[in-house]
C-alpha cells in the first residue's frame, strides 16, 4: 500500500478564489492510501517545495499528488523536488486544478467538487505508480537546418561558429531565400543583396557547414539527439566539382522561355540556369522540363560549350543518409495565391502586381533593370496605388486571419523609394491600420507621409477595374472622410499576405512537429519556449513559426541556434522512462504492436519462458527503450494486454476513469 501525500496549491488566488483548497485537502485524507494532505499558497515556491520535501521525509511518503497548475507547467519542478527529498520522481502526479478547473469555472461549490474529483483521479493513479528510472541516449553532434534563407543561414553560422557540424538543405538551386529577392530593406534602406551576400559566402566557406542545394529532406526517423535523415539531392545535370561557373552554358542555351522563379515569373530564363548572379553555389542546374535535350533528345548545346565538361545529362537523384542530433526548421514563406481576390484584377492586368514583384521591378537585376515601368506597355507610371492587407486579417476563408506583419513597413519603404527616385509619381496607400511597432519603424513611416508626401487613405479598396485605355480604375472608400473614392492609377501594388512555405506541412509530418491551422509550426510554449517545437530536438527559425521581418528572423535564428547548441553540447540525454514494455508471459508474438510502432522500437526474440511451470520457446516482443517514445499505439494494438506503457499503464488509466465516474 502506498503512503501518499496530497499537496493543494492556492496559486495565490488563481486557484483559491474559485476552489476551496482546504476542502480538497480534507477530502484527500478520505482517499485510500493518502497519509498526508495540506494546502499552501504557492506549492512551486521554495517554501512550498520545502513542505513537500519535509512531508516526504517525515511521513515516509511513497508517492505524492500535487493539485496545482497544469503538469505542463510544473510537473518537472515537483518531480525534481521529490527527487531531492529521496522519492522517485515518477511517483509524482499532478491534478490540474487551475487550467482545467479554477480558471474556467466560476461557481465555487462546483469547482471545488471538480477539483476533488481530479484529486481523486490523481490519487487513484499514483496508487498504481511504480518508480521508474530514466535511461540515457547518445547525442550526434551534428545539426540539420532545413531551408537556406536568411534564417537558415544565420542559424547554421551560429551553430557552426560554436564548433558543431551543420548541414543546410535548400530546395532551390541556391541559398539566399526570399531576402535575396528583395531590393532594399526597411527601415534603413540597406541594399538587401549587399548585406545578405557576405552571409551566404561566409556560410559556403565555413568549414563546419555543408550546403545541399537543389535538395530536399525525404525521410526522418529517430528522435532527439539521434535523428536519421534521408536527403534527396535532385539531379542537377551539372557536375558540381567540374563546373567553373563561367555562365557560357546559360548564355548559349537555346531554350530561354522558362519563367524565372527568382523574378516571380515576370521574365524568363534559360533552361540551364542559376537563379541569380550571386547564387551560391554558382553552379547552374538544368530544368529538365524546359530543356530541349531532355524533351526531344536533340540539342546538347550546353554540353558542347562547356569547356569544363561539367554537363552530365545522365545524372540521377541521389539519396544521402546522415545522422543529426538536432534539426532546425527554417522553411520560410511565400505570398498567398491571389486567385480568390479577383476584385483586384491581378489576373487581368499586368499592371496589378504584388509587392514582392515590385521588389524585382525596382531591382537593378530585375526584369526592368530597375526602371519603374508598367509591365504591360513599359510606360513610366504617374499614379501608383498600394493596397494593404490583401489576404491578411481576413475574416472569411479567402485569406488569412493573421496580420502578415511586414507589409506596412515594406509599403512605406516602396512608397518612399518611388517618391525619392521619381518625385513626379503620385503614390496613394489604402490601409486598414498602419502598424509600425519596431525600432525606428514609426519614424520611418512618418517620413514617408511627412517628408515624401505619400498619400495614406484609411479605407479599403473594393475593386480595381482595368480600363480600355490601359489605366486602372480603383474604387475605394475613405473611412476618415466617409466618402467613396474613384481613382485612376497606372499601377496597383498589392501587399499580399504571406503564408508558410506550403512544403512545411510535409516536413512537419516527417518531423512529427505540430503545426497550427495556418500551417505555422507550433512552438513549445508561446512565451517561454518560442523557438522550440514541442517535439524534442526540433527548433524553429524564421517565418515558419510566424510572420517576421528580417531583424526578428535573424534574432530568432540565433536563438534557435543557441537551443540547438545547448542540445549538441550534451554527451548524453536522459530518456523518457515512460516507455512500453511487453509481458513475456502474455505476449503472443503476433506482430500487431510492431506494425503500429512509428519508431521501429519493437523487435521479436525467440525466448525461453517459464509460464507457471510450462517451459517453452516463444516469439516475444521486445521494446528498445532508447527508441520507444511512449506513444502507446502498441498497447492498444496488443489484444492480450501484454504491451503496457510505464507511467500510463492500463490499470492506471482505468483507475483514473473509475475515480472520475465514481
Amino acid at each position: 500500500m502506498q503512503r501518499i501525500g496530497v499537496f493543494v496549491c492556492h496559486c495565490g488566488s488563481n486557484i483559491a478564489a474559485t476552489v476551496d483548497v482546504s476542502k480538497v485537502a480534507e477530502m484527500a485524507l478520505m482517499e485510500p492510501g493518502v497519509a498526508h494532505a495540506e494546502d499552501y499558497q504557492y506549492m512551486c515556491s521554495e517554501a512550498g517545495q520545502a513542505k513537500i520535501a519535509a512531508a516526504i521525509q517525515e511521513k515516509g511518503l511513497t508517492g505524492i499528488v500535487v493539485c496545482s497548475c497544469s503538469p505542463r507547467m510544473h510537473e518537472a519542478t515537483f518531480r525534481k523536488a521529490a527527487e531531492r527529498a529521496g522519492l522517485n520522481p515518477y511517483m509524482v502526479e499532478i491534478a490540474n486544478i487551475r487550467e482545467h478547473c479554477s480558471w474556467i469555472h466560476k461557481d465555487m461549490e462546483e469547482a471545488t467538487k471538480k477539483a476533488v474529483i481530479l484529486m481523486r483521479a490523481a490519487v487513484a493513479k499514483v496508487n498504481l505508480n511504480t518508480p521508474l528510472q530514466a535511461g540515457e541516449s547518445r547525442v550526434t553532434k551534428r545539426a540539420l537546418v532545413i531551408g537556406g534563407g536568411i534564417a537558415g543561414i544565420q542559424t547554421a553560422l551560429d551553430i557552426a561558429d560554436a564548433g558543431y557540424e551543420v548541414d543546410i538543405v535548400e530546395k532551390t538551386p541556391s541559398i539566399g531565400g526570399r531576402m535575396s529577392q528583395l531590393d532594399k530593406t526597411f527601415p534603413t534602406l540597406d541594399c538587401s543583396a549587399c548585406i545578405l551576400t557576405p552571409k551566404m559566402v561566409e556560410a559556403s566557406a565555413h568549414e563546419k557547414i555543408t550546403i545541399y542545394t537543389y535538395s530536399e529532406v525525404e525521410k526522418v526517423s529517430g528522435f532527439v539527439g539521434d535523428f536519421t535523415v534521408d536527403i534527396r539531392r535532385k539531379a542537377r545535370s551539372v557536375d558540381m566539382n567540374k563546373c567553373t561557373g563561367c555562365g557560357v552554358c546559360q548564355e548559349k542555351c537555346p531554350s530561354k522561355k522558362a519563367p524565372s522563379e527568382f523574378n516571380r515569373g515576370l521574365n524568363t530564363r534559360s533552361a540551364i540556369y542559376t537563379p541569380f548572379a550571386q547564387a551560391i553555389p554558382n553552379v547552374p542546374v538544368i530544368d529538365r522540363e524546359a530543356c530541349i535535350k531532355f524533351r526531344t533528345g536533340k540539342c546538347g548545346v550546353c554540353s558542347k560549350v562547356c569547356q569544363a565538361g561539367a554537363i552530365d545529362y545522365e545524372q540521377k537523384d541521389e539519396i544521402i543518409t546522415e545522422k543529426y542530433g538536432a534539426i532546425v526548421v527554417a522553411t520560410g514563406f511565400d505570398t498567398i495565391k491571389l486567385d480568390r481576390y479577383d476584385e483586384y484584377a491581378y489576373s487581368q492586368s499586368k499592371d496589378v502586381i504584388t509587392s514582392l514583384e515590385l521588389e524585382r521591378v525596382m531591382n537593378a537585376a530585375g526584369p526592368t533593370h530597375g526602371h519603374l515601368e508598367r509591365l504591360s506597355d513599359g510606360k513610366a507610371p504617374k499614379e501608383i496605388v498600394f493596397i494593404q492587407c490583401v489576404g491578411s486579417r481576413c475574416a472569411d476563408d479567402r485569406g488569412k486571419p493573421y496580420c502578415s506583419k511586414i507589409c506596412c513597413m515594406y509599403t512605406a519603404k516602396h512608397a518612399m523609394l518611388i517618391r525619392d527616385k521619381y518625385p513626379d509619381v503620385n503614390v496613394t496607400v489604402f490601409y486598414i491600420d498602419v502598424r509600425t511597432p519596431g525600432k525606428n519603424f514609426d519614424e520611418f513611416y512618418r517620413r514617408a507621409v511627412e517628408q515624401y508626401g505619400v498619400n495614406y487613405i484609411k479605407g479599403q479598396v473594393g475593386k480595381v477595374i482595368p480600363k480600355p485605355d490601359g489605366k486602372l480604375l480603383v474604387q475605394g472608400s475613405d473611412l476618415l472622410d466617409n466618402r467613396q473614392i474613384l481613382k485612376e492609377a497606372d499601377m496597383v501594388v498589392l501587399a499580399t499576405a504571406i503564408e508558410p512555405n506550403p512544403d512545411v506541412r510535409k516536413i512537419a509530418t516527417m518531423l512529427t512537429a505540430s503545426i497550427d491551422t495556418n500551417n505555422f509550426l507550433t512552438e513549445a510554449h508561446a512565451k517561454l519556449r518560442p523557438v522550440e517545437s514541442p517535439t524534442a530536438g526540433i527548433f524553429l527559425s524564421g517565418v515558419c513559426q510566424g510572420p517576421k521581418d528580417i531583424p526578428e528572423t535573424v534574432a530568432q535564428a540565433g536563438a534557435a541556434a543557441v537551443k540547438a547548441i545547448g542540445l549538441l553540447a550534451k554527451d548524453k540525454l536522459m530518456t523518457n522512462p515512460c516507455t512500453a514494455h511487453s509481458d513475456e508471459l502474455l505476449c503472443n508474438g503476433c506482430s500487431s504492436c510492431e506494425n503500429v510502432c512509428p519508431y521501429g522500437a519493437i523487435t521479436y526474440e525467440d525466448k525461453e519462458v517459464n509460464d507457471h511451470g510450462i517451459r517453452e520457446t516463444r516469439r516475444i516482443a521486445v521494446v528498445n527503450n532508447a527508441l520507444c517514445q511512449g506513444c502507446g499505439a502498441c498497447t492498444v494494438a496488443c489484444p492480450s494486454g501484454a504491451m503496457d506503457l510505464q507511467g500510463f499503464s492500463n490499470r492506471q488509466i482505468i483507475a483514473e476513469v473509475d475515480a472520475i465516474c465514481r
Binding site: 505542463r72 487550467e99 480558471w103 469547482a111 502507446g632 482505468i654
Partner: protein
C-alpha cells in the same frame, strides 16, 4: 404531487493527448474560456493510447459521455498515433451505434495546442449534447448506479 426530479448532472470523461489537446485545454484555461465542470480530463500521451476498453469502462462505471481529443491528423507528436486512434474509434463508435447506443455519447475531436477556443467550444457542445440525451442507460453496470 409531482415527483421531484433529480437534476441530471452528467459524468463526462475526456481523454486528451498530452501534446495537443491537453495543451489546448490548458490554453482554454489560461484564456478563461469556460466549459461545464461535468467534463473531467484524463491525460494520455497520445490518442493512440486510448484503448476501447477505457471507453467502455467509463460507460460501465457510469459515464454519460466520453470524448477523445488528439492532435489533428498529420500533426501527431508521434507522427501516426492519431491515425490509428481514428480508425479504432470509428469502428468502436460504429459498433456502439450498431448495438443501439446513442452515437452522440461518444465523440472524437482534433484540438491543437493553439486551439483553446475550439477546446472550449467542443466541450460546451458535447456537454450540451449529453444533456439532451440524458442519462446513459444502455451502457453501464447497474451496480454502479446507486
Amino acid at each position: 404531487m409531482p415527483l421531484e426530479k433529480k437534476e441530471f448532472k452528467p459524468k463526462i470523461v475526456a481523454f486528451c493527448c498530452n501534446w495537443c489537446s491537453y495543451a489546448g485545454a490548458d490554453l482554454a484555461g489560461s484564456s478563461r474560456l469556460t466549459y461545464p465542470a461535468d467534463v473531467k480530463i484524463i491525460r494520455v500521451p497520445c490518442s493512440c493510447r486510448v484503448n476501447p476498453m477505457f471507453i467502455l469502462r467509463a460507460f460501465e462505471k457510469g459515464a454519460d459521455g466520453v470524448i477523445m481529443c488528439g492532435c489533428h491528423p498529420g500533426d501527431c507528436h508521434y507522427s501516426t498515433g492519431n491515425y490509428y486512434a481514428r480508425r479504432r474509434m470509428t469502428l468502436l463508435f460504429s459498433m456502439l451505434d450498431y448495438i443501439g447506443v446513442e452515437s452522440g455519447r461518444t465523440r472524437v475531436e482534433w484540438v491543437s495546442a493553439a486551439e483553446g477556443v475550439k477546446f472550449s467550444e467542443t466541450m460546451n457542445s458535447f456537454v450540451e449534447k449529453i444533456y439532451s440525451l440524458g442519462e446513459n442507460v444502455r451502457l453501464g453496470d447497474l451496480r454502479c448506479k446507486n
